[in-house]
Amino acid sequence: MYELLKQIVRSGIKSEPSPEPDENLKIINQRLHEDILKQFGRSLAIRHIDTGSCNACELEIHALNNPYYNLEGLGIHFVASPRHADMLLVTGPVSRHMETALLRTYEAIPDPKLVVTVGDCSCSRGPFEKNYATIGNVSRIIPVDVALPGCPPSPRKIMSAILAAIQIKKPEKNTYIPEIRSFKPESDA
């Protein structure tokens, strides 16, 4: 236990230590906090769903919780159930095998809810073209508030995307009624 405590002291506080990239991050942090307070009370709860990502975007979402970015320190945290969430963070090009799971997860989040897509795949730019197994764009299944490109986007960019979504004013009751249907290739938006 002594060694453990010593290591904590020795490591110090790593959040935003370097002046260059982390200074920008700090500004985002402060703005983010105000917006959260306005719209969601004291915290923002995010539910993540992987709809067929290669796992690189997941690695960057994991990194958001490391001491450098310290997302949880701002009152933003990831939750296990969509019913506890304010925001859905979607990665992947939507494999057709995940279409129903994506819809159900979206429906399970209480209104008002926000959707942020992370990564090239989720907004039709990725290496996985739409084909027999892949829909290729999250916005064809559920309404998207912010679409963040990148392969994968850096944790800082993911933070700015979350911020951008919080600034979007949403109606109290969601008017979008999703239905489970088969994807047709002709109906490309």
Partner: protein, 517 residues
Amino acid sequence: MTDLKELNIELNPLPGAIPATFAQVNEETLRTTCRACQESGGRLVAIWGTDAYHQASQNRFTVHIALVFAQGLVCLSHPILNDPPSCTDLGDIFFPARRMQRALFDMMGIRFTAPDQRPWLRHGAWPETLFPLRKDSNESLFYQNTPDPYSFIQVTGEGVHEIAVGPVHAGTIEPGHFRFQVVGEKILRLEERLGYTHKGIEKRFESLEWAEGVKLAGRVSGDSTVAHGWAYVMAVENLCGHTAPIRSLWLRALALERERIANHLGDLGALGNDGGLAFGLSQFSRLKEDWIRTNDLIFGHRYLMDFIIPGGVNHDVAHAQTIQIQHEVQIIRKEVQHLKRIYDEHAGLQDRFLMTGRVLPDLATDLGMIGLAGRASGIAFDLRTQFPCTPYDALNVNMITHHNGDVAARVIVRFEEIFESLRLIELILAKLPQGDVRSDIPEPPSNSIGLGWIEGWRGEVFVAVHTDSRKKPLRIHVHDPSWQNWPAIEYAVMGNIVPDFPLINKSFNLSYSGHDL
């Protein structure tokens, strides 16, 4: 392992960076060769199929099977003569063949005479009469959802109940379904169902030139982008009879070892967290962030994507940057040594790790386990040691193994592999040859095959590239080591309690995307 000469089959050497031979066999020889391989301590690497529709070939479908013998890879090609196409079951010889055969039916419609005929990669997104990898498949017919009945094997008895988990899990991880049969807290049986992230990668490969294909290969599994990228270009370079400049091969190894360390750092943190020590996650994720920020500075990408290209690497590493890496290696080594002491001495953590999720060596051999999880269960195989390609033949890699096969063993192997990879990085930087890092690859021959085989952090990644009569890609098969190790988790969790499942699963940390393709 059996001597290849005793097999009585005509083996043609496949030139390239790995020892590989190729043979055409009939059904009987296929079985006897597989049996000889299994009995002599060899094992199955991958099963895939090709469709020669439109090609001037006598038979349309061929099943290909890659095996490991003491002398290297043996690729057996078995032409399928019957219609509808079917092939003898190899699941009784090689355990991992079972799911691969089911997947091959879903993708290409070659039916194996196996007891389990349930679909594997196909869910309800397209009818079971359609096969996406067939050359005459009409994609517009695929867009009709069909019922998706899937019968899990149930356990009955007093107090037995079922827990269904997924495809969406509680944490930030990839999707898959786990069906537990439990009594009280104790797991009697686990059955996995994967395929949720299937996105038609192998079909997509067929329409891509080599330079584009390597980008896709780098995104088969985002945490193994170097391993998959290298295996892909190795297959292409072997196919074309080309050797990339020596310096680029050393830089590829540098990238591969950096990828290994990044993933091990991340996993050790996550395992600490799952074992109830959040301190471990904070510390290791800090080290990982430092490590991948250096990747970003030197290689231009935090996860090293698109660094490896056909014929070399994308850019050189300057001398000043090698000094920077050497400096970083020393810091990370010291930090990890310190954290290892804390992990070793933490009674609560060791209590969660020890004897949890055990796969003993005999079972691991039967299951055909490979890679990191295999080595933690006494399977002494590491491509960098057994069949080292350049530059590993000059590095004398120390293989790390353990015989306990529990979560603790997989943690120890990760720690030791970090130290070994740090040593390798120092050695690579000290011996890095001078020269170009890019070259043009020649045109590939027609109707040929090239194989790539690389020991990634999770295990060996295998890629087979076939060309057609117009020298274009006919079929690209990508095989992630997760195929071999996913079934092992079903055995590892037996008799453990449900709350230990996340810890056991994390200690394997297998790829869903790399498996589902």
